[in-house]
């Protein structure tokens, strides 16, 4: 127990990878799915332990583990969570078992490798979230790409190779810039202090001149902007989603995209604070364009999955706007930042559910074109209930988590830039337009295709992964404080002190 307590984050991070290794060794699909589900649920319980014992009042880094790795280069493995990463960790560990459930009865080839890839991906995601060392962060950041590359490239649709190559190249271009910037930062820090360190806790203290900060912020920001993806770097996303299998899409939209917005909050903003003032208007502008552009393009899609993919561009635009809404006194708006972080989770839940639901009808009919459906509410009532709940979360109806997130983002943004807030608020209207169009075309009207008359409603298995998400959509809207309480201190700390940011270690 002593060992568990002092290594809880590394256990949580590497448990999935170890299960993945076991799955690669044992050539049995049945074993693979039991192990994958068991492993991911176990990981979830470990993360619950972290959640439960996380000290809500503190903005410090908690559950810190630090291991010397390459002392001559100052590279240490430092793991820790604070209120910024905690919710995303929980989202990752909660979503993965559901994704694995969705593949329980799957008949795809090489299923066990699919499970293995998903678990390896989970290690990458959790690692990127808990790593507080640039080298380790970078490694986990890139590690996430490899399983996703295979998930799309092997189990994807007809144009999967094009899509997955585009996904990788886009991301790698950004990552390389980030790597270059990281090296510059590393060397600059050494020149100043005479110490080699890749720990971001140290690097926060580097005092760089404004020009350098602008360049480095730009490089980091580009990497993150591609990942989010922000307009106009978003065109890899619809292709990747359309070709990815359902499970891949859920993880991609649910967690992977948030690595971009998380990156802004953990790295770009606190490490290069002098650049924030120059970049904030640009990022807000691109965010607002993304909100409107993503919504308008979503509206005209014929493919349900592409529609949901473009809706992500719109939703993540909100998150970006909320992350960088600069007040007159130079601090960030606490309200907007809270909203941004909450919205990342909401988007993971409701869009995850939407991708699952599109997967449900694709599995039955092998098409996702809206024109092939209509009137499903008569044949699949429970499916319709779930789709409508996910839609309400997505359009941010009050009473769902989406409302809390969007509202706080807009409220905070309004204090810094009323124009940006009102422009973003049109996204609330446009969101209703494209999501209700989706519902209408899938669910309502007469059943026009004979094939659709015999479609089966949700199976118990499908219920098992959709019901938790549907419940979360509502619970997160009614009791946001339950989720946000542990993040408050960290969010306020970042918003108010990002210009002289430091993360203390909670030593208890």
């Amino acid at each position: 127990m002593e060992f568990f307590n002092s290594h809880v984050l590394s256990i949580m991070t590497f448990l999935p990878l170890m299960v993945a290794a076991a799955i690669f060794i044992v050539p049995d699909d049945k074993f693979a799915r039991v192990a994958a589900l068991g492993g991911s649920i176990l990981t979830f319980f470990v993360s619950l332990h972290v959640w439960h014992y996380f000290n809500a009042g503190s903005a410090k880094i908690q559950f810190v583990e630090s291991y010397v790795w390459m002392p001559e280069f100052g590279i240490r493995a430092i793991f820790g969570v604070d209120g910024i990463s905690l919710l995303l960790v929980m989202l990752t560990t909660a979503l993965t078992p559901l994704v694995i459930l969705s593949l329980w009865n799957s008949h795809v080839s090489n299923l066990r490798y699919f499970f293995g890839a998903l678990l390896a991906l989970q290690t990458g995601m959790l690692g990127a979230l808990v790593a507080l060392d640039l080298v380790f962060f970078y490694v986990f950041w890139e590690v996430m790409l490899i399983p996703m590359y295979f998930i799309i490239g092997i189990w994807g649709g007809a144009r999967r190779i094009y899509a997955t190559t585009k996904f990788i190249l886009y991301t790698v271009v950004g990552s390389l810039l980030m790597l270059a910037a990281a090296i510059v930062l590393y060397i600059s820090y050494h020149r100043q202090t005479g110490i080699y360190s890749t720990s971001i806790l140290d690097l926060y203290n580097a005092s760089l001149d404004t020009t350098t900060q602008l360049w480095l912020f730009g490089c980091f920001a580009l990497a993150f902007a591609i990942k989010v993806p922000m307009w106009p770097f978003h065109t890899w996303l619809p292709d990747a989603h359309v070709e990815a299998p359902t499970a891949g899409s859920v993880i991609l939209a649910g967690v992977l995209l948030k690595m971009g917005t998380y990156g802004f909050l953990r790295f770009a903003i606190p490490m290069f604070p002098l650049a924030v003032k120059s970049f904030a208007p640009i990022l807000v502008f691109l965010g607002v364009v993304g909100i409107i552009y993503g919504a308008l393009t979503a509206w005209v899609q014929q493919d349900a999955k592409k529609l949901v993919a473009y809706s992500s561009v719109s939703h993540l635009g909100f998150v970006v706007v909320g992350s960088v809404s600069l007040l007159a006194d130079g601090s960030l708006s606490v309200e907007a930042l809270t909203g941004a972080i909450y919205q990342m989770i909401n988007h993971g839940v409701s869009t995850g559910a939407l991708f699952f639901l599109v997967g449900v009808i694709y599995e039955r009919r092998h098409t996702r074109m809206l024109a092939d459906f209509g009137g499903l509410a008569s044949v699949m009532p429970w499916f319709s209930v779930m789709l409508i709940i996910a839609t309400l979360g997505s359009v941010g109806l009050p009473g769902t988590g989406g409302f809390v997130g969007e509202f706080l983002i807009l409220l905070g943004t309004y204090q810094s830039s009323p124009v940006a807030a009102v422009m973003s608020a049109t996204g609330v209207l446009l969101g209703a337009i494209y999501m209700l169009t989706l519902c209408r075309k899938l669910l309502f009207g007469p059943v026009t295709h004979d094939e659709n008359k015999k479609m089966k409603d949700l199976s118990p298995l499908e219920f098992s992964y959709l019901v938790p998400l549907a419940l979360l959509v509502i619970i997160m809207g009614v009791f946001p404080d339950f989720f946000l309480a542990k993040s408050k201190a960290s969010i306020e700390h970042l918003a108010k002190n990002y210009r002289s940011y430091s993360l203390a270690i909670d030593s208890h």
Binding site: E335, F407, L408, A425, L436, R440
Partner: protein
């Protein structure tokens, strides 16, 4: 008690929606009605307690809901005379309509989904009227919109219904953006969004110019929200389409309760509106125009529900106009009387529609008084109430509004209101005649099955008819020897801030009784004239001369029957251009331009890589190393 009142309908919605999905109709109906009656009983007790303790406003603390930084919106409720009245209307009339709906939905296979939505609506409506801050109100505000969307599209197998539901939701959301911006502004300038705290702030001191300017914008933005929900120009287009829903829904949501939310909300923050004279002018003008235009459209409609729908828009215009001249009490009084007689009229129309096998065209009706004596009798009461027949509910409330429009808004506004009252009398009597009198014009098969509705349907109508006849006596004006109890009842809710009190002096100043009586006489005269005309033209079925008139005024007639082509205008100038632009953005900007650049860069790289690399290793690794090194060099040059 107040929490129980809210929770009963939610519980009913849960039971019907999740547990009883396959239950027989009678069970789901019983559950829904039981939830409503329990809720009504709680409301009555709550109201009695409130008035027993002098009618003082009090805030009931719930749980902390949203808080971040300096913002907090706890889930608190406000119980005062205004929300006390509203909960009685919502649960009382709601109960009657729930009972009626059991009969109306008789032919459905299953009604659990229907009653689940209907109960959920009541829950949301209660949140709307009880929320102590703008955010809790907004939960109800959008929640009732959701239920409206689900219920308009209840018969979703017909795509037109689904389209109507969607239109309602989206047009409402345009208004909701106004509401949201108002919340942001309020928080920015007052640091709170709680109604009771705002009221205290405004009441306890003088506002500076910046705050006054903000109040101007806040009230405008809130009014945009009210225009969406209460179907005012230019956002009224969703309400007529909303008639696609089952008729009890039209009665409950689209006549008695939800659509009056805008008036309720403006009354809730009346102290802000009093501070913003320009906004008030805009409100009065929009209300008057809406009342007038909607009435002109109603003159020529042949669908019985469409007439009532435009009539609702028009009557809501009256209420908004009353708010605009500062007579919030008159607006709320009309809200109350309208809730009674319009629910009655819609339910009566629903009974007719059921008897007519779901035909709604009045040209195929006629002479129904013979077949449906009870429905006819109560309907007659409803018509007399709405046209302002002396002694019935509408007479008192409408006259109060017209009088305040004259003293606060001037003769022009009074004339608009009175002409509208004339048109109201005309189209309602026309509706009455075309439906109940003259020869029956339905086909043989329909006529054979014409019959009175079961008691479950007509009993609620009788109750509503009694209310429509009597509720007006709460507001008998002093000029007729009454005490206008209602005016005094709402007095503590209204607060004219001291710094603008002289602007609103006319509300309390004493006027010549002769003038008030004269105006009253004039409007009653107009009403009788218009009714007489309608009787002459329609009592024995539509008179032949009407067709010739329609022909000689073809253009005007077409404009009216086509509702001024507003829908067509919106479609051609807003919806389609937006859709075309979206197509362009996606098909050209995204796919051709951005992807073209991306793929082009890829190809150029491949080409360049091929030329540069003599050994053609194609190693991504090597290329990326070169790239990184190049970048590092570049950055160093810049940094050093």
């Amino acid at each position: 008690m107040i929490w129980l009142m809210i929770l009963f309908p939610l519980l009913g919605a849960f039971i019907n929606g999740l547990v009883l999905r396959k239950a027989p109709k009678s069970v789901s109906h019983a559950v829904a009605v039981g939830a409503m009656l329990a809720s009504f009983a709680c409301a009555a007790v709550t109201f009695a307690h409130l008035m027993g303790s002098g009618g003082e406003a009090k805030v009931i603390h719930g749980f902390p809901w949203i808080s971040a930084g300096g913002f907090s919106a706890p889930f608190n409720l406000i119980l005062d005379r205004l929300s006390g009245l509203m909960i009685l209307i919502v649960t009382g009339i709601g109960s009657l309509i729930h009972i009626y709906a059991g009969g109306y939905m008789h032919e459905e296979k299953s009604t659990s989904r229907f009653f689940s939505y209907l109960n959920l609506f009541v829950f949301m409506m209660l949140l709307l009227v009880l929320g102590d801050n703008m955010l809790v109100m907004f939960v109800g505000w959008e929640g009732v919109g959701l239920c409206s969307y689900l219920l308009i599209g209840y018969w979703f197998q017909d795509d037109a219904n689904a389209a109507a539901g969607m239109k309602a939701f989206i047009v409402n959301r345009i208004g909701d953006i106004g509401f949201l911006v108002a919340i942001f502004l309020t928080f920015k300038h007052f640091g709170t969004v709680s109604f009771s705290e705002l009221r205290e702030m405004v009441g306890s001191g003088t506002l500076d110019a910046i705050k006054l300017g903000a109040v101007g914008w806040i009230t405008i933005c809130l009014f945009i929200g009210a225009c969406g929900k209460s179907a005012q120009l230019p956002l009224f287009v969703w309400l007529p389409d909303a008639m696609a829903g089952p008729t009890p829904v039209s009665a409950l949501i689209h006549a008695a309760t939800m659509v009056t939310a805008g008036i309720y909300m403006m009354t809730r923050v009346n102290f802000l509106y009093y501070l913003a004279p320009s906004t008030m002018t805009a409100v009065a003008v929009v209300g008057g125009l809406t009342a007038f235009f909607a009435a002109t459209i109603a003159l020529v409609q042949n669908d019985i529900k469409k007439v009532l729908a435009y009539s609702t828009v028009s009557q809501l215009g009256y209420m908004v106009m009353a708010c605009g001249v500062g007579a919030f009490d008159a607006g709320v009084f009309h809200l109350l009387t309208h809730a009674c007689f319009k629910a009655l009229l819609f339910l009566g129309a629903g009974s007719v529609i059921v008897a007519m096998h779901h035909k709604q065209d009045m040209r195929e009706m006629g002479g129904l008084s013979k077949y449906m004596p009870v429905t006819h009798a109560v309907f007659l009461v409803g018509v007399l109430a709405i046209i302002g027949f002396p002694g019935l509910a509408g007479f008192f409330s409408k006259d109060e509004i017209l009088w305040k429009a004259f003293t606060g808004g001037g003769p022009a506004l009074w004339i608009v209101g009175t002409v509208t009252a004339g048109m109201t009398a005309f189209y309602m009597v026309r509706l009455l005649c075309m439906t109940f009198y003259g020869p029956n014009r339905s086909d043989h098969h329909t006529r054979e099955h014409l019959h009175e509705t079961p008691v479950m349907m007509w009993a609620p109508l009788v109750v509503l008819a009694l209310l429509s006849a009597t509720v007006g006596y709460l507001g008998v004006p002093e000029v007729l020897g009454g005490h206008n109890i209602f005016h005094h009842y709402l007095d503590p809710v209204l607060m004219i801030p001291a710094q603008v009190s002289e602007n609103w002096a006319f509300l309390t100043v004493h006027h010549e009784h002769a003038l008030e009586l004269g105006l009253m006489g004039a409007s009653v005269g107009v009403m009788f004239l218009a009714s007489g005309l309608a009787v002459a033209l329609y009592a024995k079925g539509p008179a032949p001369v009407l067709a010739t008139w329609a022909n000689s005024f073809r253009r005007t007639y077409d404009v009216l029957t086509n509702k001024y082509y507003v829908d067509e205008f919106y479609d051609a100038w807003i919806v389609r251009p937006l859709h075309d632009m979206s197509e362009f953005l996606w098909a050209i900007f995204d796919v051709v331009l951005i992807d073209g650049i991306v793929n082009g860069v890829g190809q150029v790289c491949a080409l360049a890589g091929g030329l540069a690399s003599f050994r053609m290793t194609g190693s991504v690794h090597r290329h990326s190393m070169v790239l990184v090194l190049g970048l590092v060099v570049l950055l160093f040059i810049l940094v050093v």
